[in-house]
Symmetry: C2
Subunit: 258 residues, 2 copies
Amino acid sequence: CMRTIAIANQKGGCGKTTTAVNLAAALAQKRQRVLLIDFDPQAHSTLAFGYRPSRLLTTVYHSISNNKIPLSKIILGTDIQTLDLIPSNVLLSGAETELNRMNGKAFILEEKLKNVAGKYDTCIIDCPPWGGVLMLNALVASTEVIVPVQVHYYAMEGLKQLLETIKIIRNNFSPCDVKLLGLLLTFVNESTLFSRQIQKGLKEHFGDLVFNTVIHRAVRLAEAPSAGQSVLTYAAQSRAADEYRALADEVNHEGIFA
Amino acid sequence: CMRTIAIANQKGGCGKTTTAVNLAAALAQKRQRVLLIDFDPQAHSTLAFGYRPSRLLTTVYHSISNNKIPLSKIILGTDIQTLDLIPSNVLLSGAETELNRMNGKAFILEEKLKNVAGKYDTCIIDCPPWGGVLMLNALVASTEVIVPVQVHYYAMEGLKQLLETIKIIRNNFSPCDVKLLGLLLTFVNESTLFSRQIQKGLKEHFGDLVFNTVIHRAVRLAEAPSAGQSVLTYAAQSRAADEYRALADEVNHEGIFA
Ligand SMILES: Nc1ncnc2c1ncn2[C@@H]1O[C@H](COP(=O)(O)OP(=O)(O)OP(=O)(O)O)[C@@H](O)[C@H]1O
Ligand SMILES: Nc1ncnc2c1ncn2[C@@H]1O[C@H](COP(=O)(O)OP(=O)(O)OP(=O)(O)O)[C@@H](O)[C@H]1O
Ligand SMILES: [Mg+2]
Ligand SMILES: [Mg+2]
């Protein structure tokens, strides 16, 4: 049965897309069949695999809006054989208004996912930096959520709200039982005292919720999208690739005993 | 007559809040009366001046929602005498839905601003990372917009759409004549070839639209919010403070000849 993991945080630029793309790639390289869904109108996961969002005729929007094309008709390949992509583009920003008017507005994506659930072991959903009805759909459709957390001052404040939101969703949108898989510290920079202090504070406050794996600041992660590849392909021997492989192991491990 | 400058980009984490806070502070230190409006439910401009958003009883939301308290009743001080703040908190995310149902939904903030326009030379609006009705209100209420652009691969794609959006707003929301004041390159890192290439590409593509001032990556900018201060107070002699003072000069200069 397909495990669906939302990569979510309303904070902008904390590493959601980078985590969605590279965790999906790492899991696929460990021989899982993985589906990555770009659920952000900015379409950065789509760009990260070399596609041009404005030139796509069918995207995830065409499935969840009134067109209701099945998701299976929108699937694109990537340079990793067992990793598929459902792309997005700017049309998806219209869904924020449209979905709000539909019956069962929180369950639209979950319903569409049934069309592909049999074909994949894991589905990864890249969420936009806005806590609206798109993020609601992603969380309701998911079994788990990973929250990338940039090691900066603003990290703490938004996290408490996000964890609260996840609880509220579990209580109000049965049978959704999305659970927090973990907090992933991103943009870690051991060289500044400031970064080490924030990292320590987050680990002390959130304890076991924080993944053992952290993602260090690495120029390879910023470069890889310009080559249309995940860092697992672009720089397979880099520390960044190692870290996303280690995260994939932790995610697999926690899946079994969760 | 008050100049209103929106700091906008739907891309997350590209330096909107950091620019709103530090440009506002730099202008205020040059003896302008400046009003900074936090127009993001994440309330990071509010946090940056040491306030606790969840403890505030009145915020910008209370003005634009049905409560309609005048903006003048919501003003808070900062450590810079001529810099005032209109704070926000998470309640503002409700406005994204509420405003969409109002008549003249794009002009709500502009209307409220009239209540304070006589008291300030410049108003700076910090926008959220989402191109919805909040960002629409900010742009319609503004005379100019500054777009912070992180020097990364994803910068180009979203920019074209944003510049298009600004044109559409000018055409469809008269008498709004918001003009693009400039693109501000942020997180500039001269030490990597990748960063230098992206910076060069942006300057070649957008020419005069790019400010002469660029903001380099600087740990002081990440630290300052944890002290509840702008970098102009927290590290007055730092390169980051110099750069935001230089930006303020460019903004003042372009204002005269715009
Ligand atoms: N560990 C890292 N080291 C260096 N650069 C990184 C790292 N993680 C992400 N980046 C880069 O930082 C920028 C922001 O990251 P990313 O786009 O993944 O964040 P996001 O949370 O998806 O942003 P948004 O809120 O806009 O969706 C991107 O240009 C990305 O390539
Ligand atoms: N030049 C810089 N050097 C170092 N850190 C920076 C710089 N500019 C911003 N930061 C830090 O990077 C993070 C993201 O910046 P900021 O919050 O200003 O972006 P934003 O565009 O407002 O994000 P959002 O899309 O979430 O509103 C913050 O923690 C900020 O303190
Ligand atoms: Mg993203
Ligand atoms: Mg911000």
